[in-house]
């Protein structure tokens, strides 16, 4: 995320004022905090690079609770706990999704590094989770198989 842009937003006040001042383009107005490059990345490697997490080492202190088999890929519950001290954020990716980056959670003062989110999976894939702690990124992975149940009804 562009730090100088965020600072401008915090100082300037309303989005309308910012647009009028020519600081924001119309398409930026409402998504200034959303990392478009990272979310548009089509490969795991690019997504990791865009959030600054390329080369993250494995960690057993990141616990992923997710079903091994999902009856449907539309809703796959993923629960993440980071036991790494000083965890500042958790990132969830689905490696084989068209756009692997699914969510980033930043924990400001007072929040426990824990989250549960329902994700869409296009096919069986690794769910990759990153945790940013002590200024570095760490990684963990869990495979989820996506099946289709039932008779279509």
């Amino acid at each position: 995320m562009n730090q100088s842009r965020r600072k401008v937003l915090q100082r300037a006040g309303t989005a309308g004022a910012l647009a009028a001042a020519g600081v924001l383009r119309p398409q930026d107005l409402l998504a200034a905090g959303w990392n478009k490059d990272a979310f548009s990345a089509k490969t795991l490697a690019d997504a990791l690079k865009n959030i600054g997490a390329a080369g993250a080492g494995d960690s057993k202190d990141i616990v992923i609770e997710a079903p091994q088999i999902a009856e449907n890929g539309a809703v796959v519950p993923v629960e993440v706990t980071s036991n790494l001290p000083d965890t500042k954020s958790i990132v969830v990716l689905v490696e084989k999704n068209p756009f692997p980056l699914v969510a980033k959670f930043d924990f400001l003062e007072g929040a426990t590094p824990f989250v549960k989110v329902n994700v869409k999976m296009g096919e069986s894939s690794n769910v990759r989770v990153l945790a940013e702690a002590g200024g570095k990124y760490y990684s963990a992975v869990k495979e989820v198989k996506v099946t289709i149940g039932g008779c279509g009804g």
Binding site: L29, L30, A31, G33, W34, N35, F39, A74, V75, V76, E79, V94, N97, F99, L101, V102, A103, K104, F105, D106, F107, L108, E109, G110, A111, T112, F114, V115, K116, V117, N118, V119, K120
Partner: protein, 103 residues
Amino acid sequence: MADPMKIRAVLKGDTVDVRVLMNHPMETGQRKDGGGNLIPLHFIQEITVRLNGKAVIESQISQAVSRNPVFSFRVKGAKAGDKLQISWLDNKGDRNSTEAVIG
């Protein structure tokens, strides 16, 4: 009328277990309607969790989060009577938020 949003906040010691339910289509832009036309991308991009007005969790999500998203969080240092507020902003500029008093 804004779509309903619901927070369940359960205090366990000094940590609140928060579960928030949101109504949102989270369209990926890949789905087709009955006439074969692509339904445009429409999804929540940012979520903020505030305790007594102060942001404690900030989140950016993609269209790959499930329709009608449900999230669970944990917030430390909370006590009964504190206010928990959760708000979202989507790619069309629509917003929604709801509040709960921690019981």
